[in-house]
């Protein structure tokens, strides 16, 4: 590629250097077929699928390359798999994916919270408090009430 010398940026009126449409590289937008860049294959080699990749059902074959870093997982993954059974010209496919994204965030946040010891202490405290309340209201009938009775705990 031949290059012109590097010049300082012009100030003032912008030079209409490409007023002639023939100077514009994207005119016409579609050109006669020729390989792009320095591609040197007739058909590109295929990337090996070593993780779960969800494919658009109307595609005839898997693409030659794809991203493999974040495979579907959990409940959001179940929703994504169901969505990818629907062709991309159906609106419900996209709405399911948006919903799966929200579930993914919730799963991620709950998963992180579960890893923090404080979460379990708070959950245990809330659970115990709830059980005490239940016991107080339904002392005679509730399982927790009978359990607390047996343990000799009085809730007034």
């Amino acid at each position: 590629m031949t290059m012109s010398p590097l010049k300082p940026t012009q100030s003032g009126k912008v030079e209409a250097a490409d007023a002639d449409r023939r100077r514009r590289p994207g005119v016409p937008m579609e050109h006669a077929p020729k390989p792009a860049g320095a591609s040197h294959w007739v058909a590109p080699p295929k990337q090996v699928e070593n993780t779960e990749i969800l494919k658009e059902p109307s595609r005839r074959a898997m693409s030659s390359t794809f991203g493999s870093a974040i495979p579907p997982k959990g409940l959001s993954g179940v929703i994504r798999r169901a969505a990818y059974r629907i062709p991309d010209y159906e609106s419900k496919r996209w709405l399911m994916l948006v919903f799966a994204d929200r579930v993914d965030v919730l799963e991620s946040d709950l998963g992180r919270a579960a890893k923090r010891p404080g979460t379990w202490v708070i959950a245990a405290a809330l659970g115990f408090g709830g059980a005490m309340l239940m016991a107080r209201r339904r002392r005679r009938r509730s399982f927790f009430g009978r359990l607390l009775d047996d343990m000799g705990v009085r809730v007034s």
């Binding site: 940026t9 100030s11 912008v14 860049g37 320095a38 590109p44 109307s58 693409s63």
Partner: protein, 383 residues
């Protein structure tokens, strides 16, 4: 390695992730030297793009140094400095052979709505993005362009997306000498589209935005630009008609996308995802262009649909043109414009932050704080 990691709507963090590896014979692994936050990254950040998975890394504007090469890579070697188009393209499919690398058929297994792109959800193939210390770049013999020795990363960084996108927008407008072009939006792409319209011979360019600091910047960046601030001018379409003898502009370019402001109904429906973001820019473009004129969409809208005045477009006899940019075919030509001093895209950079501060950078950019126009992130080893 350090990388941006998506956690949920308006939440990202810097996470430690495994370094990418060669997964295909024509892959390279790139050590990122500069990466930018694009306006379309904000659509991901705000949870508007379907199949944006927790833990994914954004970033489709980046340049860096080749760290590792796959067995079939013939045009690059370790140590080369390259800038990478945001499209992932095979170079030989039906679409690539015709110049439509943004429509590549061999790089996106997940949808038929477009080709592969870096860091832009699984809707475009699930590739990890460049807002990281390292990134895997497939089809390295097709996309990346070597950076001339006498140029810096920031001189050419925006050849990865926004400069070609802006140029292609003006080009799709089929601007003829002396015509009037309206560009909706004074964000990074809008600013460059305004200048590209001038380079392609527009007689008048009118920019529309609501952020005073961006309008001021636009007027300084493109001398001769006329502007409309729609915080002050409530009837934008009426104002454009007044400025064009009641006829309307010859070409209107929507450089805003799905987070446009200015129409309460669209803002409400868009925020509730009852349509794929607010298409106010499209609506204004259709209404403000003259009969028989050209409307160009380069703003990003997610699936499945938007409510636009398509009947008006038909009755006015408009030509609607829209596309993700076929970056590769523009790179050499636009590099020449930079070298000739006609345009210096890096002038729009207002913020340079360490990669570790990406969450703050996203919030600054998303909320238009601190007169932000464009944020560039610098990984630790490139600082």
């Amino acid at each position: 390695m350090l990388a941006v990691s998506y956690r949920g709507k308006s939440r990202i963090e810097i996470a430690s992730k495994p370094e990418p590896v060669i997964e295909h014979p024509n892959d390279i692994v790139l050590r990122v030297a500069r990466t930018a936050i694009c306006g379309s990254d904000l659509h991901l950040f705000h949870g508007l793009v379907p199949d944006t998975r927790v833990g994914c890394t954004f970033g489709h504007e980046f340049a860096g140094v080749v760290e590792e090469v796959g067995s079939s890579v013939s045009s690059l070697t370790k140590g080369d400095r390259v800038v990478v188009p945001f499209n992932v393209a095979c170079g030989t499919c039906y679409f690539c052979e015709r110049g439509l690398t943004s429509c590549c058929d061999e790089t996106n297994p997940s949808a038929t709505t477009g080709g592969g792109a870096f860091g832009f959800s699984h809707t475009t193939g699930g590739y990890e993005g460049g807002q990281a210390e390292y990134v895997r770049v497939p089809f390295a013999d097709v996309g990346p362009m070597k950076i001339p020795e006498d140029m810096d990363y920031e001189d050419v960084l925006f050849l990865s997306d926004i400069f070609p996108t802006a140029y292609q927008a003006a080009e799709m407008g089929d601007i003829k000498a002396g015509q009037t072009v309206v560009v909706f939006g004074c964000g990074p792409v809008g600013l460059l589209a305004q200048k590209c319209a001038m380079i392609q011979g527009a007689g008048r360019v009118i920019a529309v935005d609501r952020e005073r600091y961006r309008i001021d910047f636009a007027e300084a960046f493109t001398p001769g630009l006329e502007t409309i601030d729609f915080r002050e001018t409530k009837d934008v379409v009426g104002a454009i008609r007044k400025m064009t003898d009641g006829r309307g502009a010859d070409v209107c370019i929507d450089a805003v996308g799905c987070e446009a402001r200015g129409n309460a109904l669209h803002t409400l429906l868009g925020s509730m995802l009852l349509e794929a973001g607010a298409p106010t820019g499209i609506q204004w473009a259709i209404d403000a262009v003259r009969r028989g004129g050209n409307v160009v969409l380069i703003g990003v809208y997610g699936p499945p649909f938007n409510l636009i005045n398509i009947g008006t477009a038909m009755n006015k006899g408009l030509t609607l043109r829209m596309a993700q940019c076929n970056v590769k075919r523009y790179m050499p030509h636009l590099l020449e414009h930079i070298r000739a001093g006609r345009i210096d895209p890096k002038q729009i950079i207002t913020h340079r932050l360490p990669l570790e501060d990406a969450p703050e950078a996203y919030h600054i950019f998303a909320n238009k704080k601190d007169d932000c126009i464009k944020c560039v992130l610098i990984p630790p080893q490139a600082a």
